[in-house]
Symmetry: C2
Amino acid sequence: MAARLPTEPPRGMRDILPAEADLRDAAAETVLTVYRRYGFRRIETPALESLQLLTGGGGGENEKLIFKVLKRGEKLDLGAAVTEADLADLGLRFDLTVPLARYYAHNHAKLPDPLKAVQIGPVWRAERPQRGRYRQFTQCDIDILGVASEIAEIELILATTEALDALGLDGLTVRINDRRLLAAMATWCGFDPARHASVFITLDKWDKLSPSEIRQELEQAGHPPPAVVRMMELYGRASPQRSLSAMRSQLGTSSAEGAFAALSRIVHTVEAAAGGRFRIDFDPTLARGMGYYTGPIFEISSSRFAAGSLAGGGRYDNMIGELLARDVPATGFSIGFERVVDLLSKMQGGTARGDKRIALLFEESTPDLGGVLAAAQALRAQGYLVALERQARNAGAQRAALEKQGYDGVATVGSGGLANLQWFAERALRQSGGRE
Amino acid sequence: MAARLPTEPPRGMRDILPAEADLRDAAAETVLTVYRRYGFRRIETPALESLQLLTGGGGGENEKLIFKVLKRGEKLDLGAAVTEADLADLGLRFDLTVPLARYYAHNHAKLPDPLKAVQIGPVWRAERPQRGRYRQFTQCDIDILGVASEIAEIELILATTEALDALGLDGLTVRINDRRLLAAMATWCGFDPARHASVFITLDKWDKLSPSEIRQELEQAGHPPPAVVRMMELYGRASPQRSLSAMRSQLGTSSAEGAFAALSRIVHTVEAAAGGRFRIDFDPTLARGMGYYTGPIFEISSSRFAAGSLAGGGRYDNMIGELLARDVPATGFSIGFERVVDLLSKMQGGTARGDKRIALLFEESTPDLGGVLAAAQALRAQGYLVALERQARNAGAQRAALEKQGYDGVATVGSGGLANLQWFAERALRQSGGRE
């Protein structure tokens, strides 16, 4: 290696320093503990998948952002290569849902039925780097495969609100809608069924744009003006959070009857189970981006953090059937882990761990290194996190640096021996003012 | 997606099923808990690094096994590409040591000094797949950067033996040697200094080959016959685990004096601290593969698993200096996580978690879904892992399947109500025979 090798992480990626790593670990542990209580089991898939799978249609826009891996050995023929497909056979996963579908199709005979899976791990997208958005980031997903009834959505919502609550992210509101209802609405208004997706993308901006901007965007997209007028009337008459029954009577007993029944059962059951811990609102403007959703869709936001949502998900009953010979009903909920960690670091401004950390300083030339080690071991056996460090010449600067690193106490193992270990720990913590 | 998309994971990679995921999580938690007590802090680096860094010389043979990532956008010019270097700019990391050196060089101003880092995460190598060896596997490394004295080696050895002990892998022996001593030995025998690495590779096989096979391999490699004879005499006179002082008097007070002093201090201090919990033996045949080691090197094996080692490491004082303007002394120890998990699964034959898992069955048509949910919530609040499942027609088969999945108890929420929740949990656990 030459001295001029770059030491930065690759563009759009980043190193995680100890304090943030502690916070991330603690957050992941909190979320996993709640999900495990709900019966979710951890599973893992490789970071790499075949490009054939990744570009198979489940990923929408994300398929354009795949980091592709060069073929190896004989498979790579540079001279004959004409397109990227000749050069690359694998790609880094861009989400955890497409790999989960493959995992289930491959392993279903060995898996519980239904499968309640929790995944937490990195995904990669070659997006243009921007503030707060990285090319490697962590997703935390729960999915229930094999349950067609709304008990799946209900459990996903209860588990995820409880996980966010456990992290201290309270004031939660769940917004819920249904893709079937969106389709019925668009049909009722008179939009071209082939262009529904474009209508939903605009509708999803209802909370960001004014009604006239929504109307303008729909008209500029070339949708039939009478359909646009009808939609604006339907949505404009009440607040976006208008009641489910009002929307139902407006659209009439149409083909979305199943969607209304499902939403009604989910909203009422979740409301009762929430006991005021969080709100659940029907939101007819909620659309969500992914094309694979087939039924109820939902997002969670917190009143403490106005912009954007903390988690989102929905039902995708058709995805696994495309890999397996039979259909498997599926619902999932994904926590925006990076967003959550970012909020937690702003709330707490430091480590989330409750451990007591002690730095035990010793002289390099100590004749009793064994005694120093024994002192550290005894404190560790009591559950303290103990770092042994050589005493620096400038003791004050060393102590200040250690306290800045988050040590609760700094104790020096002097020549007077180590008769009273407990005293070391207690003095160290007392000196630090008993930071909890 | 077409129905004929492959559903297997990529060649040499694998899916992790729930029972193994539980075991892996529990093992990682156990190891991290011990390492944290020793003052190690978790850090993370991206999975991808620049190929410039990865092929910069720190990785030895592993550099040939890099999964390389295709350039993206304008950077990729297929027409003008002649070599792989024109096509790829990033690669998946093949170990955690090269990224750590870059991480330290980039972030040192914001990091504790010394840095005690623990990393656990996947690495990738495009090796020919074989039994028990995968192209994505997990490494668990601790490293101490900034400590030149042997207290670093001592702490690494104590922490790693304690972590393996905590996993139930007892009967441990630490074998230790020093690269400086190996060099002094090879010089004393009369080997060509430029060909020492080849001597060490053969020497490392001492426990697998017979003395005559060792001699033959050295001679066939073209080393001077008198040097080979001298080495065979030196090593043949006693057992490989001959004492440090015997080797010292054999070689004389040569240039390896520092190595002998370091090894002596490490062996005696660790022996005293171990208190019979494990053995530490000087092993003059231990060589280890990586070229970057500069001082003491060590491996841990268990008497319960004869073949191979569970962990290995050593001092590499020159690596960071090649990225940073100044030298930074460094020592590391890496646990073979996949090997450890494999051994644990054979020892325990199942889940390592102590949680109580209950499946709560309900009728899909229940009029009181809220009550069912409340029952589940109450049990979860008591710390049980509770999966809600719809009752199947064949109750016996369902119960058998759930028990096979590791549920400690299965309870049915009948029409009689949920007056006594605790009773459900206790009955469920009683029926299962109180499996711990």
